[in-house]
């Protein structure tokens, strides 16, 4: 039974839909890069961060962005060829919508917070001095 299953799958598996399954090497590279890109931000924040909070945040976000790309390439095997490029098209469309959702929400809500009456500002809200006062 096992032999027939293997024979059947061997023909099937090799490139059923042009889908790339990667190699041990590519998974190892992706894993090592991910470990490095995780260790940098965690180490930085756990040791108290740099003097400049902005720079620390920049490094943390930058590492995450690179790590997302590493996962896309080495774990999800993204390329422009699989499924005649439709995988990539769907991804690009999603990224555009995600950017609109995130940037739009933060922008709109930040403006609303900034333009609220001063006594309605909650603690910890980002405050803009000079608006409405």
């Amino acid at each position: 039974m096992a032999d027939t299953a293997h024979a059947k799958t061997a023909a099937h598996v090799h490139h059923p839909d042009g889908h790339d399954h990667g190699t041990y090497r590519s998974y190892a590279i992706g894993f090592i890069l991910s470990v490095i890109l995780t260790a940098i931000p965690f180490g930085l924040v756990m040791m108290g961060g740099l003097e400049s909070r902005l720079l620390t945040a920049g490094i943390v976000i930058g590492s995450a962005a690179i790590q997302v790309l590493v996962h896309m390439v080495y774990f999800l095997h993204m390329n422009g060829r699989s499924d005649e490029g439709w995988t990539m098209m769907a991804l690009i469309f999603t990224v555009v919508v995600v950017v609109i959702i995130l940037a739009g929400s933060l922008w709109v809500m930040h403006n609303m917070n900034a333009n609220m009456m001063p006594q309605m500002n909650h603690d910890g809200m980002p405050q803009l001095s000079g608006f409405g006062t």
């Binding site: 299953a5 059923p16 839909d17 924040v45 996962h71 499924d83 959702i101 995130l102």
Partner: protein, 204 residues
């Protein structure tokens, strides 16, 4: 006009865009993942808007324990690697090895869930449950949704392992495993966003 069975068969045979059964499953599943990604984007946006509304309650620095998050990140990253190895064993037709790697992935997924449930329970015990502040509501919504995805991924993984045990590495089972591997790696990508924007940036 009603096509006979013979006509039908001829149609499929002569179609220039003939695909073997299940060939479009991965692209379909990918589109599902992209829609899931949009849902997470909305949850991230909610957290971005409400994440600093503490309502005079505890903030991230008083609540989060980064070493727990680091352990969970390690669990998920390792499980991505073991799932990749399971895929490679499957492509090579080595069912026993594939089952071993899938088992390792399941253990790592369950370990992730155990740590996360411990964390949630600890927060609720401290009085920092989802009803405490807008920050905590959006935190539990975002991280909880990711955790639910991992939980269903584990359930799927368990049932897939039973299927493989019963029926072997058939074409259908390989297709299911390919979809689950995309799902699993996708959850790891979402987790990068979670540990970066929720935990690390909250602790700076």
């Amino acid at each position: 006009m009603t096509p006979t069975i013979a006509d039908d068969a001829q149609y499929w045979d002569t179609s220039p865009h003939h695909h073997e059964e299940g060939a479009s499953t991965t692209i379909g599943f990918w589109i599902y993942l992209m829609s899931d990604c949009l849902m997470f984007a909305v949850l991230f946006a909610v957290f971005g808007v409400l994440g600093q509304s503490y309502a005079a309650g505890p903030g991230p620095q008083a609540l989060f324990e980064l070493h727990l998050v680091a352990i969970n990140t390690a669990f998920l990253l390792l499980s991505s690697l073991t799932f990749g190895f399971a895929m490679l064993s499957t492509v090579a037709g080595r069912q026993d090895r594939a089952m071993l790697w899938l088992g390792a992935t399941l253990v790592l997924g369950l370990a992730f869930l155990a740590v996360e449930i411990y964390e949630f329970q600890h927060l609720i015990h401290l009085g920092a449950g989802p009803q405490r502040s807008a920050f905590l509501s959006s935190f539990f919504a975002l991280v909880g949704t990711h955790g639910l995805h991992v939980a269903f991924g584990c359930l799927w993984l368990g049932t897939l392992m039973i299927q493989i045990r019963k029926h072997g590495l058939t074409g259908a089972n390989i297709r299911r495993m390919t979809c689950l591997s995309m799902f699993w790696h996708f959850l790891d990508v979402i987790w990068i966003g979670v540990f970066t924007f929720v935990y690390l940036l909250g602790m700076i």
